[in-house]
Symmetry: C2
DNA sequence: GCGAACAGAATTGTCAACGATTCTGTTTTC
DNA sequence: GAAAACAGAATCGTTGACAATTCTGTTCGC
């Protein structure tokens, strides 16, 4: 039986490298536009270059990494205009998910939503933007999950991955959590009322305010 | 200078194999769920197995091919439910594009739209569903183009690729082109009137009728 | 006869070395 | 002194062979 901690090669190695690098990029450990050299990364993660290469190709098709022929890979930088465009797509797709969620949710799921709402209110009251940001993410994920829209969920996950840097900056802006909170509570209420139209409107209103905030950079 | 006809290997070879295989799948030359053996394909396209393999990986991330570890690749079959889900996503994203197109279009582009509308009317009057289907595709592409929404366009192209088989079946259904035509003309008029709200509504109405048709399989 | 174990074939997955391309700093030429 | 030419280094791209896995048809035990 192979040691399972960190397989030096093979499919598992690729997955391992993929997830570690993705996490590193998402958590901002890699400077924007930083060069990603296959050999260095492979060595530092303890995998072969082939595995690392495959991981980089995957991240490229996820839109997190940019690669130029014979010049290597770099972490992709998302401009503000791109972030706005991406958020507009989220508006459309999350609107769809929210509307579906409003008609499809079970009672247990509605309770879960209410719980998240309370937790978010508390985080804002406590002045804890980091926790709030995490709960925010959880809420959107839960709604996507309830909607049961596999295709939309897949697209949204790709889109969200590209926004982490901007999202992070946004959450720390003073006053932002308060506005965001009230929009989210409205969304939760709309779904709990099983009103798809209102849910979609609430999502769009929320993301519209996100776009305004993005543009105010 | 390398001969440009059909390089046996390298990046160009991958692109060549990629496009030929994609075309073959989209045109239905590959039976649904047909096995795609790397060696066979590589030989028949005159490229190395490595290039073929890379092409298959690309198609996998486009959602056209399914691959199972150590078992090979097969053309992915899209069930009716999936087709519905995908069309719901298109509804959201094309709605966004249509609304943007209504506000962003230049006069020249509006004329182009009108021209396409006339051509589509003619194709229906002539009872030519194949031409109509192509014009249909052109219309959606033009609207996406006008919208200038890079991100949404990218997502939509991926989604559309997965639907070709269903789309094809749909176009040949008696009576379908007539209904489709009137919906498209309404959409064109809404954009020409520079009315984003009406344009989005028209797109949604159209795709909603596509969903009904899909479900009536 | 029927299911389990087993060898052989087919297919994909992985690797390490080699080849090609691009960048960088230096030299040469005008 | 500036632009062009060039060599050297760094890095990615490709190849062909080998290893690992899965499938298939056959045999064996009951």
């Amino acid at each position: 039986m192979p040691k399972e901690a960190r397989p030096g090669s093979g499919e598992q190695a690729k997955q391992y490298a993929l997830e570690r690098l993705r996490k590193a990029i998402l958590q901002g450990e890699m400077a924007p536009a930083q060069r990603l050299v296959e050999n260095e990364l492979a060595e530092s993660y303890g995998v072969t270059r082939a595995s690392m290469r495959a991981a980089l190709l995957d991240l490229t098709s996820e839109g997190l990494v940019e690669r130029i022929r014979n010049r290597g890979s770099r972490v992709r930088v998302v401009t503000v205009e791109e972030a706005v465009e991406i958020t507009e797509c989220r508006m459309a797709l999350e609107g769809l998910c929210a509307a579906k969620a409003a008609t499809e949710a079970t009672d247990a799921q509605l309770d879960e939503l209410a719980g998240l709402g309370k937790a978010m209110s508390k985080a804002v009251a406590d002045g804890d933007p980091v926790t709030y940001s995490e709960l925010n993410h959880d809420l959107h994920a839960l709604i996507r999950d309830i909607s049961g829209q596999h295709t939309a969920v897949g697209l949204l996950e790709r889109l969200n991955a590209q926004l982490v840097r901007h999202r992070f900056q946004l959450a720390l802006r003073p006053g932002r959590p308060q506005q965001s909170l009230s929009e989210h509570l409205a969304l939760i209420e709309a779904i709990r009322a099983r009103d798809p139209q209102a849910a979609e409107t609430a999502v769009r209103a929320h993301l519209s305010s996100v776009i305004d905030a993005l543009r105010a950079d």
